[in-house]
């Protein structure tokens, strides 16, 4: 059994000073507990011998001082431990976000956003316990029992021997049970992921569910998924509680063993009262750090399952050292797909099969063909959201794979087939195309995209909040905002994926004209299925079943 994932431990190194301080505070608190035990026994024993109150004042005052010291140490233990945990976990969370954004924006690995978000929020919280409590507790569990045994041995060797008799049982039980818990916890975490993914999907699809009168039936599904989560959780808990119970049994039996043998030896005069009482009060402390560890054990298992998922998400395919080459401008040199093939990892079979396609500088190329032919996939490859499985994308003489992706993308304006509006104002959404653009340019771009008129009708015009949780827009309106984005961006290469898909004829005509104007002096890849739009291109290329079927000869007006 691994105590903790080495990848996690590596990240904990940054806060090792805090963790060390935390452990020191924990040890201090534990030692003060021992002092307390010794003092209580001393007072009681003296009184037993007939001492009046004034004679035990000193140990009583020390007792209070020990309690105060212990309290202060406990305070520090909690605060320092959680501070250490928080900083490691924030780091992990941001690392995850960066990885997803920088290296795997297209999420081709099928990781769903609900799952990833839950791992990054709820999951990371679960990890906090591992860091703040479990990790320091591991050290305490190793150090404190040793101190107790040494102390007991110095008082009464026989009792120390008795305690040692039960001690080895404890880690053995923990080991056995802990091994069992890991698979269970993973299952539990999967159940929670399923619950999140499922619920996010259901929330997004509620209108559709209701349209088919399936809204209520989903309540059963939710209950079922919840119940699976409960069963998985109870599965881990039963085992975790059992391990706790086993340890507790060892502890209570230890107390009883010491109490009874010491009692009998007291009757025979084999041990003094104070020694006997001290040993008894110390007996539960021997097992306490271990029991705390066992209590954290289950939290640790939870945390580990999450950590594994998180680290897997972070560590997928250690992104090839980002190429740093400066790409030439597509305004000066042609962009070429050279024998490009592509297959989605999730699906067998090639989506693109040795595609050759050249976009000359300043040229507008229309890409047409039946739905599912691979047109949008070509856009993804050009944007480097995916890499060809064979062949290469070249800009002039440079292989795109050798160029810095960010520098390359800075030269592209893209409107995807299903554009996303982000939560924010309409103006902010358009400014995605160019963060520095002033209001004037934003409006000009919106006008070009045919968006200005309806935006002005919105409750707060350009300041209306749209996107997730904002003012809903009709799909034609959303597309026109996304188009305005592209029009705002002064990029030499423009990729428009079915830009007029849900527009009426008049708007489509206007957008077409805007595209023609935009195309002057720029390279445009126009993915289109409407002939009237395709005809605006210099050249029409047909893609069917992943192959170019027409030689690019169709000259248009």
């Amino acid at each position: 059994m691994r105590l903790i994932d080495p990848r996690l431990l590596r990240r904990a190194r940054a806060v090792r000073v805090l963790l060390a301080a935390d452990v020191a505070l924990g040890v201090l608190a534990a030692l003060l507990v021992l002092a307390q035990a010794v003092l209580i026994a001393r007072v009681a024993a003296r009184a037993f011998g007939g001492a009046p109150l004034p004679e035990v004042t000193l140990p009583l005052v020390l007792l209070v001082a020990a309690a105060a010291g212990r309290g202060a140490a406990a305070w520090g233990f909690e605060a320092v431990g959680r501070r250490a945990a928080t900083s490691v976990l924030s780091g992990l969370r941001l690392e995850l976000v960066e990885r997803r954004l920088r290296d795997r924006p297209a999420a081709l690995d099928g990781a769903e956003s609900g799952e990833v978000a839950t791992a990054a929020v709820a999951g990371v919280d679960a990890l906090e316990t591992t860091f703040a409590r479990y990790l320091p507790q591991v050290v305490l569990a190793a150090v404190v029992p040793l101190a107790v045994i040494v102390l007991v041995a110095s008082i009464d060797l026989l009792s120390a021997g008795l305690m040692l008799l039960t001690l080895p049982l404890v880690p053995v039980f923990m080991w056995l049970v802990g091994r069992y818990t890991e698979g269970q916890t993973r299952k539990r975490w999967q159940a929670l992921s399923l619950l999140s993914t499922h619920f996010l999907d259901v929330v997004r699809g509620l209108p559709t569910l209701r349209a088919f009168n399936r809204g209520e039936a989903q309540a059963e599904r939710i209950a079922e998924v919840s119940d699976r989560y409960r069963r998985a959780t109870m599965g881990t808990l039963r085992v975790a509680f059992l391990s706790g119970a086993v340890l507790e049994l060892a502890a209570t039996l230890g107390i009883a063993l010491v109490a009874v043998t010491v009692g009998v030896r007291l009757v025979n005069g084999g041990i003094g009262f104070e020694a006997a009482l001290t040993v008894l009060v110390l007996a539960p402390e021997l097992y306490l750090p271990l029991r705390n560890l066992a209590a954290q054990f289950h939290a640790r298992a939870d945390g580990l399952a999450v950590a594994e998922r998180l680290l897997d998400l972070i560590d997928t395919e250690p992104g090839a050292a980002p190429a740093r080459g400066t790409p030439p401008s597509p305004g000066d040199v042609p962009v070429r797909l050279e024998g490009v093939s592509f297959a989605y990892p999730a699906r067998p079979g090639e989506v693109l099969d040795s595609v050759d396609l050249e976009l000359a500088p300043g040229e507008t190329v229309a890409l047409v063909g039946p739905s599912g032919g691979g047109k949008s996939t070509i856009a993804s490859l050009l944007l480097r959201l995916a890499e060809p499985t064979e062949g290469r994308v070249a800009v002039g003489n440079a292989d795109l794979a050798d160029c810095d992706p960010a520098a390359w993308r800075a030269q592209i304006a893209w409107v995807p087939q299903q554009p996303t509006l982000f939560r924010g104002t309409v103006a902010d959404n358009i400014r995605l195309g160019d963060a520095g653009a002033g209001d004037e340019r934003v409006r000009a771009a919106a006008e070009l995209a045919g968006a200005d008129a309806f935006v002005l009708e919105l409750p707060e015009a350009y300041e209306t909040v749209v996107g997730d949780g904002g003012r809903p827009l009709s799909s034609g309106e959303r597309r026109r905002i996304a188009l305005a984005r592209a029009f705002l961006r002064a990029a030499p290469l423009v990729i428009l994926d079915e830009p007029t898909a849900d527009l009426d004829a008049a708007s489509a005509e206007a957008v077409g004209e805007a595209v023609s104007r935009l195309g002057e002096g720029r390279t445009v890849l126009l993915i289109a299925h409407r002939p009237e739009l395709a005809l605006r291109a210099d050249r029409v290329v047909t893609l069917d079943g992943g192959r170019i079927v027409d030689l690019p000869t169709v000259e248009a007006a």
């Binding site: 305070w75 909690e78 839950t118 209570t252 009692g263 849900d502």
Partner: protein, 557 residues
Amino acid sequence: MTGTLRRLLALAGMPAGRVALSILLGALAVGFGVALMTTAGYLISRAAEHPPILSLTVTIVAVRFFALSRPIVRYLDRLVSHDLALRALGRIRARFYERIEPLAPAQLEGYRRGDLLTRMVGDVDALQGLYLRGLAPPLVALAVGSVCAGVMAAVLPAAAAILAAGLVIGGFAVPAVAWAAARAAGRRQAAVRGELTAELVELLRGAPELVAYGREEETIARVRVVDAELARLGRRDALVAGLADALSILVAGLTAAGVLAVAVASHDSGALDRVLVATLALLALSSFEGVAPLPAAARELGTTIASGGRVLELTDRVSAVRDPSDPLPAPPVPATVTLESVTARYGPREEPALSRVDLRLDPGRRVGLVGPSGAGKTTVTSLLLRFLDPEEGRVTIGGRDVRDYRQEDVRRTFALAGQEAHVFGSTIRENLRLARSAASDAELEAALGRARLGEWVASLLDGLDTPVGEEGLELSGGQRQRLVLARALLADAPVLVLDEPTAHLDPPTASRLMDDILDAAADKTVLLITHRPEGLERMDEIVTLDAGRVTAVPIAS
């Protein structure tokens, strides 16, 4: 606060018998622990007087009994209480869904998807603490504390007063401090968690566009801000937690010292048997086990109640669209559907989306609805399915207002292939089955065939069981649209409503598709919303909408 608590408990609907059992077990577990230390202390003190061993037998048996039964009772207690809490969670989750389901889509528009996800998963999960920490421990502490103080009172009233005071401070005052200090932060924490999840869901979903527009840094910076806020709240919480821990330890230490001092003095004055001095000290020390979890519980209760409030906020909302108290029987099939001078508005601050619109769908008739995007075409479908009710005028089926029918019966009249239709992140089969859960494979394939998707699905390795990805993102735009169509065809309702069904299709596919659909729907009423010529020529009449008004008198084609 108590109002929130009471209503959450009502929502959880926990069986009283089980609650009583769990509290009894909890009290016994803590009680046996106290009894173990107390009897062990008594055993040793008594043994120190060198009595005949036989006179100790009863005590020895008691020590062994408590040592053995404590871990067992504790184990049972944890099992019962956790099972109880998890079942309650399942119930809350199902009810949460049942209550928000009728709110969709209109009344959920102000919420971000990720925020809803946190409410459903994270916040509901936090409610686990409601019983496990909010309800059970105080009752257990009360029961055990009273017994301990009572027992001590029978022996030494002055010491009992100290113990009672200590228990009240440790079990009431310290938790109250923790509660007060953590409440505001707890509320913030739940909200910030929701915000972080919402940010993450959005950024993961929109990652391709963010990356294409070079906004990685900015997005990461935004997540960093929310994350830093969460970390700050976490550190604050740790400080409060540590303070509460410190105070509890201090109070317990003071109480033990106080009881010991009183016991020593009483023994000195002859009022207390010397055997009982150590016994009482151990009783005082161990009786704090019951109150120890309370400060943490109080602190977490702040978060729990904040989470609960977020859940209740949604479950309290009353759906704007409601079933009548005395609904009509299901509408006749086939029936005429009409909009009669309908004015509809999405919000008080919005312009009307439709103004005095009339539309008539006689059985078997095919009506085309055209008009610029944003004209209100999709709004018509929302009115038909009662996602929105008219502000003025009425929508009728068979001559009766749709508001007089049950919503379910109204929706059964229509099969909607919506523009915003959601594709669920499961398989092709599951998505189709939504429309007809009992459909055979042959029926599914027939519907896919009519939607011109049959060949493609047949070519897939997993066929109907191919996963389509989150929101259908692993399909091409046109494939996704055809899947939505196939689903509507399968629903087999008398009125087929198609909202821009061919927007993402190439013209040849689009016209073949429309032919197939209209042939298959020969005996159905059809409302076709479109910007495209395909299918329009086969309509009986065409209605044009512009800016929410019918502009062209219906033309029979």
